[in-house]
Subunit: 392 residues, 2 copies
């Protein structure tokens, strides 16, 4: 039995495990010290009543023979796919129910979608970016090209005219940089993809953080995108579902390659290798997308965005260069005095008891940069910023 050699090409340790280990070591050495975590992008506020009530009701339904539900459709209950369609309709995007697939989160779907593509496909990945894009392709033994983000392009690289690739990842609002592509910039990407029949894998996990009404919150707001893009989103960052697990993936019927509908391929993949999302979760997600649920989520997101403003003000006062924090929960700063990302990580941890994420963990072009997140309690954010002002 031979193992898949792609796994041997992976770097040894996943970014967040290395951070966790360093924090654990620091805690061991400084037992009394409080550590403030602005590192992992994890929701912290409680779920709102709309979602809770719906999930409690769903649990009760499973306790009675008349309302018990066993297997649902692998691609999700119609009630939830319709709710997603209404959510898109509100942003001016018309989708058919059969174009929406409910999954257990964008991370799973973005990894599993690769099943559909030929092993020899060439993949284009922005650098820096969420590490799973790269790792999942290395596992599959694919050839990967990088698209350099930099201070100059504000970490929003555009396609060079001569660049060829089969698949391109776009994450906007971006994790880790917090940058957001404008409508004009996304038009360039769509035109590029259509010209060479490439597929855009569009990660819109943070679309709910966009405050500027001129910025696109879905790739399908760009004409032509339904012929070249798959969009992934989840309720993790939209409605606090990081522990409840629900995402959705849109594969338009217009997306056809080699004469084959990618919607049909993904349906086949999911019906064969997936068995649907918890009924309780799906009822919670339906409630999260209701008017009341959206209101409750918007209140939480406002809290996080206020946190982001506190961070941004501090960085501005201290003279840091940074992006993000206006339409995204992430702030991406340049490390001072030419420090490397891990040097700055160690300095923040040891001088301020403050945890962030080294930019180099997101790719080579992230070296010398650093990510802070707004997902924390306000008092922790405030204390973290006080420490930064006084001690770093």
């Amino acid at each position: 039995m031979k193992i898949n050699r792609g796994f041997l090409q992976l770097n040894d340790r996943y970014l967040f495990s290395r951070i966790a280990r360093k924090v654990q070591e620091y805690r061991g050495e400084h037992p009394g010290q409080e550590v403030l975590n602005l590192g992992i992008g994890d929701w912290t506020l409680p779920l709102g009543p709309a979602v809770l009530t719906a999930m409690e009701r769903a649990v009760m339904e499973l306790g009675s023979a008349e309302t018990f539900r066993g297997y649902g459709e692998e691609q999700g209950y119609a009630f939830l796919r319709q709710a997603v369609c209404r959510y898109y309709a509100a942003k001016g995007v018309e989708l058919a129910e059969s174009e929406v697939f409910i999954g257990d989160g964008a991370k799973s779907d973005m990894g599993n979608i690769l099943d559909l593509f030929a092993p020899e496909s060439t993949v284009l990945i922005p650098d820096p970016v969420y590490p799973a894009y790269l790792d999942t392709n290395i596992m599959a033994g694919r050839s990967v090209k990088f698209l350099a983000g930099s201070r100059e392009n504000r970490f929003l690289p555009l396609p060079p005219a001569d660049l060829r690739a089969d698949i391109v990842y776009i994450c906007s609002p971006n994790n880790p940089t917090g940058s957001v592509y404008s409508r004009e910039q996304l038009k360039e990407w769509v035109a590029w993809a259509l010209a060479q029949e490439a597929i855009i894998l569009f990660d819109s996990a943070y679309e709910a953080y966009i405050q500027d009404p001129d910025l696109p919150t879905s790739i399908y707001q760009i004409p032509g995108a339904q012929q070249c893009a798959i969009e992934f989103c989840s309720l993790s960052k939209t409605a606090g579902f990081t522990g409840v697990r629900c995402g959705y993936t849109v594969v338009p019927h217009g997306l056809v390659r080699d004469g084959i509908s990618l919607n049909e391929l993904w349906l086949r993949r999911q019906t064969t290798k997936f068995n649907g999302v918890s009924y309780i979760t799906q009822r919670g997600a339906e409630a999260a997308l209701s008017e009341r649920g959206l209101q409750e989520s918007r209140a939480s997101i406002s809290t996080y965005m206020a946190n982001a403003r506190v961070i941004a003000e501090t960085l501005r006062d201290l003279g840091f260069w940074f992006t993000g924090g206006e339409n995204a929960p992430y702030i991406w700063l340049q490390c001072p005095q030419g420090m490397s990302s891990w040097e700055f990580f160690d300095l923040l941890l040891h001088n301020c008891g403050l945890v962030g994420t080294p930019g180099s963990g997101f790719g080579r072009c992230g070296e010398g940069f650093f990510r802070l997140t707004a997902f924390a309690r306000r008092e922790d954010i405030s204390r973290a910023m006080e420490r930064l002002r006084s001690r770093y």
Copy 2:
């Protein structure tokens, strides 16, 4: 962009979709007729109080800032992995917590585990068997050999001495045949796998239905299996979690190939392409594996096994040859008078308004056989058997 050609090798329609279409057509033509479904293996009884209470409490925890949970470990919460270890300890199998991976169901994990193996691996699949084993391997473009089940071997094929393969699937109690391998038979499989360093993918989804204390309920009850087998199980058929979605996969530390730990590979796969199971589900699963939860599940399983006895008696009276129904919720019968599986399906549907599953849907050797399941209400089972006695 080229698609994965493996998908083009798949048969056109998945078994259960074809059944659903035929039933829909029949209903359209016979609007007044009640159709009794003994086709799909889906749980029908409500969840018990132990599980419900745990899930309600988990929902409430998510509604308060103090007890809110975001991302958990991808491989599952320690409380649930420990509960699985205790469940195995009760059957005489010692596992480390880190050998247990919590997932959203055996179907997902059994599909996704294939990521670990080299594309050129040769796969051995019993025929007949649960169709996803074959389809997932065809998607990956792997070379598949079949191992013929028959009336003669009671659909429990053993490894011929000269047979070579890298991966073998074993499903015991078997879906669809309801046959269960004895300890001696599994010893043969383990010896075969160890001799050629093959991997056994052991699907124990129906282990809770085994009534005979001499039959193994885990491959790890066979010495040597921790060096050659991965075991998949779920709470779908153990505790009615078909709609709640929770499974577990055991990858022992002793399982090493090419000098590489498969446990580490699977951990890497899951941390990169999966984000864990709903916290609510995991609390429900923990409760399902508690003493009270197990008691409640055993009561439900007893109901289904009593159903199975009603079916078995009827078939015996009518002179059918069949396997299963004693230690599994499935009864696998030979179609009468040399009929094909789909001919018998049509006959049962049209003469009795009764839906079962054509054996040919599970592989070539399933042709001429037919599956009935015990997952239905007692009164439906009784009415179905009356119709079978009087009308078929």
